[in-house]
Structures are given as structure tokens and as C-alpha cells.
Symmetry: C2
Subunit: 393 residues, 2 copies
């Protein structure tokens, strides 16, 4: 057995970084305190009351009346996979809007589910018009349409007004990933008319990574409940009864997870209690602030970031009209070593800013102001530090 | 929008229950404190140092030298599914030992993966002998063998000495679920010679639910890395190169998760930072206590529970030789309303004990003494409360 140091690596004692990248951001202290409460048994009436309260709170967060609004135990990516695995049958046609790294992730997951994948590909940093989306729906007649609301890889937010109604008209169920916008920009589930939306806590919700809130329309829930159940045994010959193919995952079988969160309380996993405490407190902080005030705070912080970067002579990436308010891309000036600047920001100023992926790797930094960090003083501190580092670069 | 109460349901403030069911158990205060630290960026050198330390700590916990020892972000069930989804190809033959509810879960997950399922079914509460396991391997020649170490549904621990060598002789990769035993009974990964073992924090590790430690042998890792990669795009025609079928999940693709935990640090999900802090502290607490002392503490608590229940004239379920040390089944006396007793234990004594599933539903209670709760005073308090409630029943 290989040796461990005598102190077993010491206590958890992280440096006090200011996390101004594309997420995670610093966690609201109230959320950290909520997580420090001891756990309860999963069917304790006090625990199931917390679960029901969390459902009610997230209906507000997702701006929806959807009964089925709850948490997936895993990171934001777990929420995406639970949605797609439950909505997509093998061979089903899926139309995916791809305009950045996370759009690519949707098609990667759909491929693993053996979907018949069709895509609307737009250049990174661009958006699709409602006309383009309708043309895709008309041409491909998919069973499922999937898109990203705010793709941090491009700092671009896809407008979604009218998308749900279009999908419904063409008979498609719709899925939206709102990981990077939930809590920071309006996620208008019911107004958009989309069927399933999932998010995370670690960006604008002011929580830690590891929990994926999700909301599901009755229409989508009915579809998911219509898929063949897989009991804890071997049943391979009951497709003749017309049931749809089973969901290929137990952990991501939303029909079972809904039954766990329903009055039936059917045992599935053991709810990740500490993360539920965190999610519940994130929503309480958000609703006490007020949705409009919160979105305005993110917008003001984002605008201050953009203006401050421009005032330094830097070129902001993307289009002002479709910019996410909570993360800003900025071109790395010619001759500047982007990674060296990031390292100096971290080491000299305790500030994290983000690098970029794919076609934008090495070309832009991504600077966030999310959740607890969407504050003028933190924007100013970040801009001042960046100016200091660039002056010395 | 439906109304929320004015106080938004108040702060998280759970009653102080003593959790003596089959898990979750109360969380060690050091672990709760570790989770109250703020998060770090996922590629921050301090964060990746915590990840590497966590790998080293869990090698000790799993009693292994396996390089690939890390965390799955999700509940213990997520660890099970990550292992099976990565080891089982569609159509692959899988031999599953089923002796309780969690053995049934293994076959349910395998069915969703379209495995060719063979089973060794033994009566609930019984174990399979090494001879039965060898006969199954010889008869079915499976690609994968899967079993549960301690199945809380039956409070029975399956002996695993020699199982890994047998599987290797018959060419099977082996998977063991140790959710309910890790941290309480010896999980001798290398001595057993098994390939993949996963666990959870919420039972004997003294942590909250929501994180699944896992360890993977080099042999199993090589197999998993040999499965076809799915890039973020559409590639459906490259099976001709002889690669094995892709893993059907992105979230549970252990090859990608290993690359995230390796020096390559390839981006996958964003690690659930607070749960990693919890997992790391659980392991530190365990290793500072010492493995032998910890196993002895659980054994003493379990023995005290069994003896105390018998001294009250109750009949303990199962066989003494194969009893899990951390959870005890006890028959509900004739004429006693088991659920009413559980409710009175909770309401009058703040103590949770467990009900049972399947063929044991309504027949036994399951009383745990796990992790932070495997202490003589907590066993005595539970026994005294049960005596009090039964005297008044």
C-alpha cells in the first residue's frame, strides 16, 4: 500500500478565490450553512416536506406551473442526460440546435441513445432564428427538439420565445438546457411553452455543482410514463403490449424519479440530502431577492463588465443583442499569453477567469459575474486586476 | 402562479434524529464542516490536488492499489450504473448473483443495457457458496459477473474471498457493489481480486448521500478504454475498425470520467465540489481511526444490537455467520403494528429504524448502527426506546 503523508493531507481549507469564470462561482454563504445541517431519513415526514417545498420553490425559479419540478442527483450534465434518456427512444428522430460546445454535447448524448439525429448547425457565437428552427422542424419532423439556452462556450443566449409553440405544432417534445442561465436570466418555461428544462446550481443559482433542478410538462410526463417499465427482474417479451421501449437507464429513468418525488414515494435512489438543502436555499435566496431584481442585478453586472473591458481597449466577443448577461467573452490581445494572464490573475489576485474551448480556445477569455458574484464591486475588482496584469504583461 | 407562504418555508432546520435505519445515518460533524467550505474552480491547482488526495485516500478505503480510484457524482446507485454501463456491452452475457433487492437492481440495470442476463438466484437471507458461483461461471461463461457485498434488504453479507480469481479464470470481469459495507466491513478489493467496486458515503462512511466512490482494476480500465469513443458530433460508421460498441451514457462513461481524474484533466462534468469535500473528509476520519479499529467498532455495535434484541425476547433475522455487522434485521412480534412502532420511535424518541422490502415487508425491522452511529451508547439508546415502545404497544 502506497504511503500517505502523516497528516492525511490536512483539513479542507481552500484559498479564498473569487470565481469569475464561466462557473462554478462562489457559493452564497447561506447555502453553505444550509448544507452544514445533518441529514434526515429519506422518508422522514420532515424530509419529504423539504422535498415538496423544493418542488414549489423551483416552480417559481423555472417560472412554471409544472407539477413535475424537482431535482436530479448529479451535476447539471446529469439533468441533461436524464431528460434526453427519458425523452428519446432508440431510433427516434431528434433535432438538435448546435451553436457551441454544449449543443455538441446534446448530439453526443443523443448518439449514444441511438437517436436518428438531425441538426441545425449555426456558427459559434450566432443564434438560430425562429424561421430556421421552424424550417428544421418542418423538414425533419422530429420527435424531440433540443437546444441550449445560454451556451457558456460562446457566451451567447439563444432566444426561445415562440419555440415551444412551434415544436408543439410540429408534434415535437422540446428540451432546453438552462444550466448557465437559471437564476441569472429569465427562464420562462411556461411562456416559452417548452416541455422539459433542466439547470444547475453552480452558475447563477449561487450554489455548488452537484444538483440539477428539472421541470417537466404534463405532456412530456405522460410520454415518459408511457415507456415500458422495467421491474427488478427479467422481462424481455412484453413489448407486444404496445408499450414504448424502456428507458435505457435506471438512474435517469424520470418516470421512476417522478414516482419517488410524488405522493407515492416509491423508493428509487436515496435523495442527496445535503445537495437538496443547498438547492432549497439557493431558491429561497433567489425568491427573497425577487426574480426581476435578480435578473436586473445580473444584467447590470454583465453590462459593467462589457463596458469596463471595452474601456480598457479590449474587444468583447459576440453580439451585444444576444449576449448572456452573466458571462462575457473577451479577445486575448495579440502577443499576450492568455494562460499566463489567467495564472497571474489567480496567483497574484486570487481571481479565476476562464479559458475557452474548441474554435475559441486560446482566442478569448470568458469572464463571469454569476449568482453571488454578480456584484459591482466584484466586477470592478476583476477589471482592476486584469488591467494590472495586462499592464505588466 | 401558486402562492408560496410568506416565509418561503423557513430555513433548513431539521429535527435532531438519531438515524438507526439501513441508511442514511447521521453525518460525522467533521464532514458537515468540510462541506461548509466554499468551492474552487474545477481546474484550480488546489482543486485538482484535492482530487488527487481523494484518490489516494480511497485506495486505502477500498484496500487496493488501483490507480483508478475516484468519485462518481451521484448517489451510490449512480456508481452501480456507471460500473455496469461501462462494463456491459449490448448483448454481452452477464451473470448476476441475486439474494435480495439490490441484486435485483443489478439485473434491472443490466436488462436496460440489453445484456444477455443469467442469474444465480438464492433465497433472500442466504448466500451463494464459492462452488455455486463457480458452477454459474462454468455454465454461462459470462463477460461480466456482478454481485452485492452487503445487501441491506436482507442484512446479509456475501463472502467474496476467492471470487475475483474464479472470475478471472473463467474470463469474466467482476463487479461488486459495496454501498452498504464500505467503511464498516472490510472491502478487500485487491485480496478478493475483483475488478470494479463501488460504494456510497451515507452508510458506514459517515457522510451524506450523493457521492459514489469507485475503484477500477487496470484490466477493467483497459476494457473500458477499448470501447468506441463518441466525440461531440455524429459518427455512426466507424464500428468497422473493430472498436467495441460505445458506452450508452455520457454521464456514466467511465473512460471519460477517468480522463477527467487523470493528469489529462479532460473536461467532462464539473466535479461536485462540496460532495468531494465530504468524501475526502469521510476517508480522513476513517483512516485516522484506523481500518481495523473501525471494523471492530462496527462489529461490536452490531453484536451489541443483536444481543440486546435477543435479550428483549425478539427473534433476529438471518444467519449469524453471514450477518452484516452494521444492520440487523429483527422479526416484528406477532400482533405488533410495525409501522406504528416506527412512528412512535420517531415521534417519541427521535430515533429512525427501518422497514423492509419485498418478501420481508411487514415482517422485519432493519436497525442499523453505521459509521458515526456505530457506538455503544447509540445502540443502548435505540434498544431502550424500542423496549419502551413495545412495552406500551
Amino acid at each position: 500500500m502506497s504511503a500517505l503523508p502523516a497528516d492525511f493531507f490536512g483539513e479542507i481549507d481552500p484559498p479564498q478565490r473569487l470565481l469569475m469564470g464561466p462557473g462554478p462561482a462562489n457559493v452564497h454563504p447561506r447555502v453553505l450553512r444550509a448544507m452544514s445541517a445533518d441529514v434526515l431519513g429519506q422518508f422522514d415526514p420532515e424530509m419529504t416536506a423539504y422535498m415538496n417545498q423544493t418542488m414549489a420553490l423551483y416552480r417559481r425559479v423555472f417560472m412554471t406551473e409544472n407539477r413535475w419540478t424537482f431535482l436530479i442527483d448529479g451535476t447539471a450534465r446529469a439533468g441533461i442526460e436524464a431528460a434526453l434518456a427519458s425523452l428519446i427512444e432508440p431510433g427516434a428522430r431528434v433535432l438538435i440546435l448546435r451553436a457551441g460546445r454544449f449543443g455538441m454535447l446534446l448530439s453526443e448524448i443523443a448518439e449514444r441513445l441511438d437517436a436518428d439525429i438531425r441538426v441545425i448547425d449555426v456558427e459559434w457565437g450566432q443564434i438560430a432564428t425562429l424561421g430556421q428552427i421552424e424550417a428544421g422542424l418542418a423538414a425533419h419532423r422530429p420527435a424531440v427538439f433540443a437546444a441550449i439556452h445560454g451556451d457558456t462556450s460562446t457566451t451567447t443566449a439563444q432566444p426561445l420565445d415562440g419555440v415551444g409553440a412551434l415544436c408543439a405544432r410540429y408534434g415535437a417534445l422540446s428540451y432546453i438546457d438552462a444550466t448557465a442561465t437559471l437564476g441569472g436570466m429569465p427562464v420562462r418555461t411556461d411562456e416559452w411553452g417548452v416541455d422539459v428544462v433542466s439547470g444547475g446550481l453552480q452558475k447563477c443559482m449561487g450554489g455548488p455543482p452537484g444538483c440539477a433542478p428539472i421541470t417537466i410538462s404534463d405532456r412530456a410526463a405522460a410520454f415518459i410514463f408511457s415507456r415500458r417499465k422495467v421491474e427488478s427482474g427479467i422481462r424481455r417479451d412484453d413489448l407486444a403490449d404496445g408499450a414504448r421501449p424502456a428507458i435505457r437507464s435506471n438512474y435517469f429513468d424520470l418516470s421512476m424519479i417522478m414516482e419517488y418525488w410524488s405522493e407515492k414515494r416509491l423508493n428509487h435512489h436515496t435523495e442527496a440530502t445535503s445537495m437538496l438543502y443547498a438547492a432549497r436555499e439557493c431558491a429561497r435566496v433567489m425568491l427573497q431577492e425577487g426574480l426581476d431584481a435578480r435578473f436586473a442585478r445580473h444584467e447590470a453586472a454583465g453590462r459593467a463588465m462589457v463596458e469596463g473591458l471595452r474601456a480598457m481597449g479590449l474587444t468583447v466577443y459576440g453580439q451585444d443583442a444576444y449576449r448572456m448577461t452573466n458571462v462575457t467573452g473577451v479577445h486575448i490581445p495579440d502577443g499576450v499569453d492568455g494562460e499566463r494572464v489567467r495564472r497571474r490573475m489567480r496567483e497574484e489576485h486570487q481571481i479565476e477567469i476562464g479559458s475557452a474551448f474548441g474554435p475559441l480556445a486560446g482566442k478569448i477569455w470568458r469572464i463571469g459575474a454569476m449568482g453571488y458574484n454578480a456584484e459591482p464591486d466584484k466586477v470592478r475588482r476583476t477589471l482592476a486586476a486584469l488591467r494590472d496584469v495586462l499592464d505588466g504583461a
